[in-house]
Subunit: 337 residues, 4 copies
């Protein structure tokens, strides 16, 4: 961390500031120039309150050097992390497709969809059992029953399953779930992140609606700091002023994240846009951007889906998307295992 | 809910759409004009997926009529809700000032601050025991010990206390807390909202960083639908592109919310701006906008605050703000009890 | 336009509202249901102030039916517009690459870059002569001299040229320019849009930093309403809260725009991200999303570029991007002429 | 400007970087620490491309020290600027109220409104003659005729007039206008800013919908660098995700701007919110925030306003707002001359 001291400050003030920094357990490196004095902070600055320093009267500017995340940092782990979920590989040169309905509605429905998406090349099955809904009066998911049906579909098809956890109270129900999803609204539910990190299971962590990429990595860090190194990042659209799509899919997040972290990154074009017709073009765009996979909503009867029907593909539409995706993968050097 | 059907659709398609709507348990009112056909949906439309209908081929536009929230709706409860917290009144013609440090750091500190803010006219004491921090490596609060110190400060000063709950696992520790705070990052942690609603205690619900006012009211609805009618809404800044303040304080939220809900609304200028010098002008602005109260960070030694020191006032600065606030209150017809 | 009247309004109020609407020269279609009264407005509603109607005491909701743009509307012009610029085709099944430096710096420089980008497959040459810079103290471009050099480069290479117009005062200098660019900051400089529409030349219209897609189309409409039908839309990133890229490239704009307009859409990944390493992945993503072309900054010596060097490719990097783009084009059914 | 060099860079690379900086005409101050090397740039860094430096391989971070604006900077001009417009004072301890209709519609209308707002205490008259409208099919203002009517109203009432200039082509028509307004959409129309700066007249500069406060000051700098020191800044709402108000009024802009510039700041609550009922609370909030004035839309017949009627007050409503504003002014130490 670098502190630039104001030209107008005197010796005493600078000395006070240095003492205060040393009290935090840090060393300093002082550099006096004709026009400005710069103090370099040496040591573990991750606990230093940058806003507090900025607010001090003698301080002109403060600049953090180096990222505040460690386990997720590519600097300390240059190779891509590749996560093996029951044979399905996520990260590196692999391309993963996670598909399934927004909500699990019945055993028959989830098995039907699972068979269909597997036939088209999906490698994992998704389906919501616990559903975060804006309204308390909307369908909240089949809950534990939904997880039972997902496990049935896994038994039937061999596809590992991904489903969302909304409360640490339910964590026992997730012991046979392959990948635990943390939804966008819980990205900064730090107590839940710690609990999920303790399970050691692969976690699919969705970016919050208005969270920066650095905050996403800090939330991954919460999980990893509990000893769980298998975190899959998921971009699913951010909130902007544009009303013609539900959210704005931030695809440049893919190469930006690739530069600073070794964790895999998948894209959810269904939630990002909220419009089924946009799933195909945004899936191909995701491949072009270098994503490690897709998470796509597929429903056998979108007209009657209990939630988010507007963004679901039917199995035929999904099959077409998969065909085009597969044609594109060699160009970016990836393949579906 | 009003559905406008496309000009290009034929009789059969319209009939199909009507059948489908009736399957949802709703009645319809059909109006055929020369240029457009409009279908009115009659009944409880709160569970209808508006995005799904928009996506149907025959549909031109859909418009929800009426708000999706009920308990929080001023239409069904025209008078302002006034909440009594151990004698401190929130809402109506009352103006409430909740003050205290970002984090509880020690028994001595919290009692000292409590005495100071009480002397200046604060009516409730705030202090963080469980702290949501972006980094897992940052100070996470004194947790249960922090709550003990807050209760000591309450005993000492008589000020009711407000403190943040981050996980339903900790709910038992909050049984003597007067007002449970739900932080911005947990505004859509729906499982937590349900649990807190079951306690029946007053809840201070902070608006999420990128949540609309309607979403804030829907989260209040989650709490209220569990039977808890004492919700205090709190605007604390939203995330925008402007870097010179930490967040952008959305003060027009006050009169907008006053128009649609009977719940009280308080403003947190400390977190909204992140800059202690802005607390005074934004406090006066909040009074002008018609807010029911303020939540202000006060620390006895901001230079050494364990978190968010940059936005804290010292007791002398807080006293000055209170003096100006009190002068302004008669103009907007409010008074501190 | 559909007006939903409040349940609480009486006959007289509804009659007044209808009279007022008729005063605007519109017909009405009244539909009275048990729970709501709906008034349909018939005629040219493009001049009706929707905010004013919303604010009337008797009105519950107002909904516009149909888009406010006409010339740009795909409904009235179902086929893709294909623009021919000196042999280079833009739109339809064609894929266009516009490349060149941010600023024209010298005759030698622009000719060198023009030759390089042509060799790699670019179909148009870009280069800034008039430069919109945030600071009045920054380099403002070579202005008329810059245009002279661009024309020299065109003579030398045969590439048609695209360059930005910032003021109607300069329009005469642009008479030999092939495509006039309107920059993001002037997207709603309506007087300039009218002037440029009068030239009849192809116009490349960049989306403003915080403008909706509908506003972009309304600005295209300004140009087209002067009789100029050759407008190329350009997405170049929108302003969000994310600091790791200069702007957030909104690639879902491509399929959304394709759905409502017949005009071609190109992407500027250089300005959108501000980072040269992101140009390749975002170019491939643009192809996947279905864009009609790219606008890429290429500089022969990015280290010394007078502006925006951080986002420029050198000719070798550009050549690599072109090779990958060309491999991808057949998958989306496009080709560079 | 401070450049932090990567730990991994060698002597040769650092020497190259220093040479390159010196080529830009700057001196350097080198400071080598154990953990990082910091290069301080000395001289006029306002033309240095910070993004370009950030992108260099050897660079870890770059930080600008000091603001890029000069004439508008409070550091070099500590006292508040007070602008005298025909006797009306703007800035310092004065509070200014600019009122009038969105559009000038007729001589009778503007004179009527002018008399009304003067009676209530307004000190300047506003009215649009040239109107920036999103749609080319909407009413574009009475243009030169509108200015004639405004001048008549000035003659009649003695109120100085404020009206918007949209194109440098019209500048001659504005020779008797007292304050030239630059609208939000033209805030970065740099060629227009230069032209208006040459007139030497007071300029009311509105913040763009998605422009930062620093960009607003840079645009003021464009005007001031032409020798015109009388710039009035105007906050009128920024674009966010919240749909219940047209824009989000950023009132913390007031104290933030006051800290860094000596120019006066006025607030436009009418355009910011788009809702007439919000004008009173947001006007009082503006006074509390420390604004130097208000710009309020007043219409004698809002139901028939040709534009933006939804946000206009009628003269009686305006009078009530003025009464409350006047009661509040002494608390913030301001008075209407």
């Amino acid at each position: 961390m670098i502190i630039v001291v104001k030209n107008t400050s005197d010796e005493g003030q600078v000395a006070n500031l240095i003492d205060w920094v040393k009290d935090l357990g840090l060393d300093v490196h002082l550099s006096r120039g004709e026009h400005s004095t710069v103090i370099g902070l040496i040591g573990d600055t991750s606990k230093v309150d940058i806003d507090l320093i900025s607010s001090l009267d003698v301080v002109e500017k403060v600049q953090r050097v180096g990222e505040p995340f460690k386990n997720a940092n590519r600097k300390f782990h240059p190779e891509d992390t590749v996560i093996d979920v029951g044979g399905a590989k996520i990260g590196g040169d692999y391309f993963t497709v996670i598909a399934g309905p927004c909500s699990v509605e019945s055993e028959k429905q989830i098995i039907e969809v699972a068979n269909a998406v597997k036939a088209s090349g999906a490698t994992l099955l998704r389906g919501g059992a616990f559903k975060p809904r804006t309204s308390p009066y909307a369908f909240q998911g089949l809950r534990d029953e939904g997880i039972k049906y997902l496990l049935k579909a896994k038994e039937e098809t061999g596809l590992p399953i991904v489903t969302e956890l909304m409360s640490a109270f339910h964590i026992d129900l997730f012991k046979d779930v392959d990948v635990i999803q943390i939804g966008a609204r819980n990205m900064q539910n730090f107590e839940l992140l710690k609990e999920v990190g303790k399970t050691g299971k692969p976690v699919l962590l969705k970016r919050g609606l208005a969270n920066t990429l650095q905050e996403l990595l800090m939330s991954a860090e919460y999980i990893m700091s509990e000893g769980d190194s298998e975190v899959i990042l998921c971009e699913r659209g951010i909130r902007t002023f544009e009303p013609m799509t539900r959210n704005t899919l931030d695809l440049s997040a893919v190469p930006v994240l690739k530069g600073v972290t070794h964790l895999p990154i998948v894209i959810d074009p269904s939630h990002a846009t909220g419009i089924s017709k946009l799933v195909e073009p945004m899936s191909l765009a995701s491949v072009g951007a270098g994503a490690d996979g897709l998470m796509i909503e597929v429903h056998n009867d979108p007209m009657h889906a209990l939630c988010d029907g507007a963004q679901s593909l039917n199995p035929e539409q999904f099959d077409l998307v998969m065909k085009k995706v597969k044609t594109m993968l060699p160009i970016v050097g990836k393949s579906i295992i």
